[in-house]
Symmetry: D2
Subunit: 256 residues, 4 copies
């Protein structure tokens, strides 16, 4: 039985569609890991193409077929290959892919050196046509921040809180997720761990007290660090503190 | 034209359904407010009835009709009337209603006395049949907690963070949302405000440092307080700290 | 007692901060309503300013003070006044404000004409300096879509689903939320209601079956309509279907 | 240096705490998989113990240590071992553990037999003391539902939508996640796939049209099926439809 191909019908509205495809598909993927070579994780995937004005629709199932073929080893150095496959299979001039996933890094507690895993929300965004390709790596890094104003004006103590630093880096060359995480963690009042024993807790409490920082400070510190990196032509930094004295957040954003 | 009433068909599977109805309907409602008499808010509403085994389905549109009639003044002292209306209109033996909504209370900053609004996520749950009716009031109160262990072992400073205390109180008599909020706020290291000037920030920083508490302490303090209240025969308390030194939360739960 | 103003200290990193301020503050506001003049709703508010390179930090509490003064009547025609107040109070060259809120419109069922309220997630974004001001109105409109391919290839029936159309419109002149909602609702297979009786349900079922549309079709229909409106110099349209046959979504995006 | 153990201090409020521990910790785990033996996934983990009235607090870091030791092979048949380890390490009479995770099953499209992966949100809950242990397996299964009323009263078409069936099953003996998923999928108007080609889309469209079901029907079908299974002494079933003609959901719940 021959079934009609409605998507391929001619459209007369004379409107190309910038992005058309599948969104919010959860899929297991395997990534490169700086330490362990491979890391299994679960991604939420978006895949789009540019649809020319003369086609009524795209063929959504083909996106899943491309993902199926590539999910076993997502290497951001080879993401251009996936983008090209999408353009060929969908007969499109431009293609986009986005992966959101948690990524785990083993960290040692600062004093006892006990190991545990920290999770970081990451995102890879890439798009390309036959001439160029752009790639963005996003990391979201939980941090501790301690308020310089509160420390200065109070006779003792200082309010501190969990915050998050988000980096979106355009990559001209390969950069490890671990490298961006380290930039964020070293720019805050203190970094965050999954497992701390009492000597570690003493260490992080005192370290944060010795390093008071506003969201503004953390955003600037990260910016200074990333600006030195030739592999990252453009980036933005976002720092958000879940203020312990408010039910809203303090926020700073720098775009470079 | 006469349209078939499929829902009223006889069902032969011999299975009553505990709850059937509409869920996640967003609707503007008006509530009682201890200070200002009336408060406008937006609720997410669930409404269910018990469906006897011999009916194929319920009539979903009738729930919305009952809500429409009552939304202008939701008074928890009269919620039995809404439950009764549901049972009559849906021809059911038992009915359930749940409202989730943000509720705002004007607070004064502790030193400068400047006023601002704090929002609290609240929930009213009620169900009843022709004999009895049960009513639960839930409040979710953001708080500051300061870690007693961190304070004790550190030479200076102490990690602190935003936390949340959740109370679910069964009401035998009327209780104001404001009363439950006050119990939670007075049981933590410090309460939280939307607007604090520098003298206020000094005050809350020092107050939290002087009142170190674990989630366990806050849950116990709230429990002690609520246990004295004759209007609340049963309750549960849940305290969760968004730890500033971890990316997971500390948690305590007491059921009474 | 004189408390140090740490935020006003000189910063030597030579980095201005594009946006700094408060994020995710929930506050009750009052809006203009085309039918009822005023509508009470609850907004999630973000407020930022540009921070010059020579200041260490901004004064977060002042944002709340500006919001407090203006929340009783948010009129997007006067949002420039709020932006100006922010620049003055924060001593800043550029200011940003964002309100996210549910907005309710009373709709009549298509046959029985019974009235009920539909909620739409909306967002107002505005920013400005002493020379210019830009304003964006966003609406998120739930819709019904019925798949043209499924209808064409199947002997009977056609898969359909809830979808959402999102419009982000830059406004050169005033536009009602209601106008954008109507564009989105009239561009889909059928519009959505809170309350439908059986004759209405027959109507919407048949209407959707008679108007099969892909996400691509709906995005193009909305684009055609908005392109005619001189008050809207730029806009983007996003349509997302919560496919009833998949656990991921179909998606189309047009930027104009 | 000896650091004080504040948690072990005596508490005089005479209040045991039902559950105290860590919540919302994201961690990679490995599970049993019926087809492939092992499946890597990412869990959100909660771990609690009962705290006797005479202790001020629990030792949060020990929960993470127990998880670290066991995460490489979570087998629900051996979860009693983890619970016992928690009781020993935390010196507690009762322990609780909860894992929330996406689980992937490879499915064949109904006509073309093309394979793809479907994700299901699952949860394992277990708790125990020295005498007993209880284990609950939860699965959340996306489904297609087609409205019997809409089909009956309309001249053509019928509204249908994505829905979700949630099963919470107490296990007296081992049950595969895959078994509960199959019960839910076979009880709906049609099951859902990640990848469908046109002949498959025709098949699922017509199958759903031939199997109209309310949430009530799906909940009853699942209940009938699970009631036959001796390994499942108690269970609850929840079905929620994301109605394509409303912006709220239809809901049914049965507890057995």
């Amino acid at each position: 039985m021959k079934l009609a191909d409605v998507q391929s019908l001619r459209d007369n509205r004379n409107l190309p569609i910038d992005k058309v495809g599948v969104k919010n598909l959860r899929y297991p993927i395997t990534l490169l890991d700086r330490t362990k070579k491979r890391q299994h994780t679960i991604a939420t995937v978006n895949m789009y193409v540019l649809l020319p004005s003369d086609f009524k629709g795209t063929h959504m199932s083909r996106f899943i077929e491309v993902l199926n073929e590539n999910r076993e080893c997502i290497d951001i150095r080879k993401i251009g290959k996936i983008l090209k496959q999408m353009r060929e299979k969908l007969n499109a001039r431009k293609s986009y892919i986005e992966f959101d996933f948690p990524y785990f890094i083993e960290k040692e507690a600062p004093v006892t050196k006990i190991k545990s895993l920290m999770s970081y929300d990451c995102k890879v965004e890439a798009f390309g046509d036959s001439h160029t390709e752009e790639l963005f790596l996003n990391v979201e890094v939980p941090i501790t921040s301690l308020c310089p104003c509160s420390k200065e004006i109070s006779s003792y103590g200082a309010h501190n809180q969990r915050g998050v630093a988000r980096i979106r880096a355009q990559l001209a060359e390969f950069v490890w997720i671990e490298e961006l995480v380290e930039v964020a963690e070293s720019s805050a009042s203190c970094e965050i761990y999954s497992l701390l024993k009492r000597p570690d807790e003493k260490f992080v409490t005192e370290k944060a007290y010795n390093n008071p920082m506003f969201v503004e400070d953390i955003a600037r510190n990260i910016t200074l660090e990333l600006s030195k990196d030739k592999r990252i032509p453009h980036f933005s930094v976002e720092v958000e503190n879940f203020e312990s004295i408010h039910n809203h957040n303090a926020y700073a954003f720098i775009n470079r």
